[in-house]
Amino acid sequence: MRTGCLFPVWLATCYSSFSVILLREGAPPSSQDTLAGILGRKGDAVNWIALKMLMGDKSKYFAIVFGVSFACFLIAEQSAVFCGVMLRTTSQIRDTHGADIWVMNTGVRYLDDAKAISDDSVFRVRSVPGVAWAVNLYRGQGQAQLADGTYQAVILMGLDDATLAGAPTHMLLGSIGDLQIPDAILVDEAGFHQMWPSEPLSTGKVIEMNQRRAVVVGVYRASQTFMTLPIIYTRFSQATLFVPPPPTGRLTPFVLTKAQPGLPPEQVARRIEAQTGLKALTKQEFLDLTMQYYLRHTGIPVNFGTTVVLAFLVGTAIAGQTFYLFTVENLKHFGTLKAMGMRDRRLIAMILIQGMVVGGIGYGVGVGLATVFGIFSQRAMPLLAFFLPWQVLALSGAAMIVIVLLASLLSIRRVLVLEPAVVFQGGS
C-alpha cells in the first residue's frame, strides 16, 4: 500500500484528544486547558459560548461529527482508490530504473499500446549527440502454459542481453545475473502466486511459452499493474522466441535511453525525435502520456468521479442536515442571545466556528479512517489499489470546507431571519 503519510492518523488522534477534553462534563468555567478555554481567552469569549453550545449535547455533537467524518472518509477513500488505479497504469514505467528516456513508435498512445519500430532504431538513437547509452526493450503479451496444462496470459519483458538494463531492482529470490542462464526467466511475486497458488516462492519452476521451455530463476517484487497479469522478465533474444514472430518481422517496441550527465533528458529527447523521427519521451512524459490516455479514453475517471461526486453529495446532505438540525434545535438559544443584544455578525461567527470545528474534526477522523482502511484492507485484499497522496488530503480538505460552508450557510440564513422577539412568545 502507498499512503502519502501517516499525518491523517496523527491528525485524527489529536482531534479526538481535543474532543475528549472538550467534552468533560461539568468542567469549571475557569478551565484554561481546553480548546474552548484557549479560544475564549485569546479570541472572543463568544467563541467559547459557540463551542459550549456545539459540544453541550454529546449525542448531537457526535452525530454531526460522524456525518462529516463519513463524508470525508467516502471522498478520501474513493479518491485514493482512483489514484491507486491510475498509478497502476504506469507501474511498469516507474519500475524500469536506469533509463530516463523512452524511444518508441510515433503512434504509441500509452504503455500497453506498444508498436514495433525497426530493429536498427537503437543504433540511430545511439548516434544522437547527448545520448549516453541506448538499449532495446521488448514488451509484449505472451501465453504461458503451466505444468498442469493450464494457460496464463503474461506480460513479457525482454532486457538487453549484454547489459540487462531496466531490470527489476527488488529481488526476493535469485539474482538478475541468473538471466544469463539459458531459458531463464524472472517472475514477479504476485504473478508467481497467480500461477502457483498457495505454493511458497521458489526457483526451478518450469513453464512453456510458444512451445519453448522457460525456467524460473528468480522472483522479484513489482508494483501492481493495471491488468494484474504476471510480469516475466527475460533477455531480449529469449523474449523474441517466447512469442510467435510478428507479421511485420519487427521485434523492438522500445529503446531505453540515458542522457549524458549534465544534459536535461527533455533536451536529449527532443534531439532524438528530430534526428530519428521516432517519439522520444522522458520517463515523466511517458507517465503523463499513459495516465492521460486512461483518463481520457477509459471509463475510470467517470466511474470513480461519479462515486466521488456522490460521496460529496451524500456527505453534504448528511453533514448539512445534521448541522442544520442542530442549529434549528438551538434556535431558541440563538434567539435568546439575539434578544440580549448579540449582533448578527457575532451569531454568524458562532455558526462558522461551530462549522469549522465540526469540519476540522470530521476531516481528521475521516482521512484517518481512510488511511486505516487502506492499511488494513490491503492486507486482506492485496489487489486493492489504494494510494493516498497529499493531493487527496487537500481535495478532501477542500471538500470539507465546501460542505461545512454549505451547511453553515443554511444555518446562518435560519438564524439571520430569526426575529429576536420570538423569545417572548412562550420561550420558543
Binding site: 461539568g26 469549571p28 468555567p29 475557569s30 475564549g40 481567552r41 469569549a45 463568544v46 467559547w48 459560548i49 459550549k52 453550545m53 459540544m55 453541550g56 449535547d57 431558541k332 438559544h333 435568546t336 442571545l337 439575539k338 434578544a339 440580549m340 443584544g341 448579540m342 449582533r343 448578527d344 455578525r345 457575532r346 426575529e419 429576536p420 422577539a421 423569545v423 417572548f424 412568545q425 412562550g426 420561550g427 420558543s428
Partner: protein, 246 residues
Amino acid sequence: MNPTTPTRKGVTCRNLVKDYGSGESRVRALRGVDVEIAPGELTLLVGPSGCGKTTLISILAGTLDATSGDFSVLGVNLQRLSKPAKADFRARNVGFVFQQFNLLPFLTVAENVAVPLIINGSSRATATTLATEILHAVELGDRTQSFPSQLSGGQQQRVAIARALVHQPRLLVADEPTSAVDARTGHAIMELIRQMALQPDRVAVVVTHDARVFGFGDRIITLEDGRVASSKRGERSFTHDPLAPA
C-alpha cells in the same frame, strides 16, 4: 448626543400601532397605544391573552419594530436605530426575564449569568467573577457550577433575574416571570425583581396575567384588544412574601 445614549427618561409611547402580516391576512395587535412609564417604578402590563402585552413589551425592548407611532425608550427613539445599533442598545440597556427562563442549558449557572457581560465585551474571567457576585445576592452562591437542569423552577428564574441585571441595565423587561412557578415562588420572584430592579434611574416593566402579583406594581397598565384600557397606580400591597410562614 449619541442617539443610542439613554437619558434619565422612562418610556413614552404615542399612538403606537403594530400590524402582523399584510393585506387580508393582516392582524392589528396594537391599535394606538399611549403609555408613559416613569423611571423608578415597577410597571405591570396586564390584560387577557391576545391583548397585545407581549407585542408591546417586545417593541419597548427593541426586539420588534412598530408599524407606526412614536415612542422612545430611555429617551432613545429606537425606530431610528439601525439593526446593529438596536442590538447594541439592547445589550447595554435592556435586561430580559423570560417566561420559560431561556437559560442556556450547556452553560453553568455562573456562565449563564455572565453572558450579557460577554456580549458587552467583558472577558470571560471578569464576567464570571461579576456573575458569581450577583448570584450570591440572589442566594444562589452555592449553585454557580450547577447546570440549569439541576435547579428548580424558582431557582432558574432567580438565575434569569440575576442574568437580566448583571450588566446594570436601565430597562428591565420581564415576560410572565411567575407563570411557570408556584404561587409562593412567584411572590418571591416578584419581591426579588422589586428589590433588584427598582432604582431611581431604572425602568422595570413586567408583563403578567397573574392577578396574585398585581400588588407588587407601582403602576398597572391594563391592555384590552390592543389598546390601553386603564393606567392606574398600584397599591403595592406586598412588601414581603404573604405566603411565608409567620
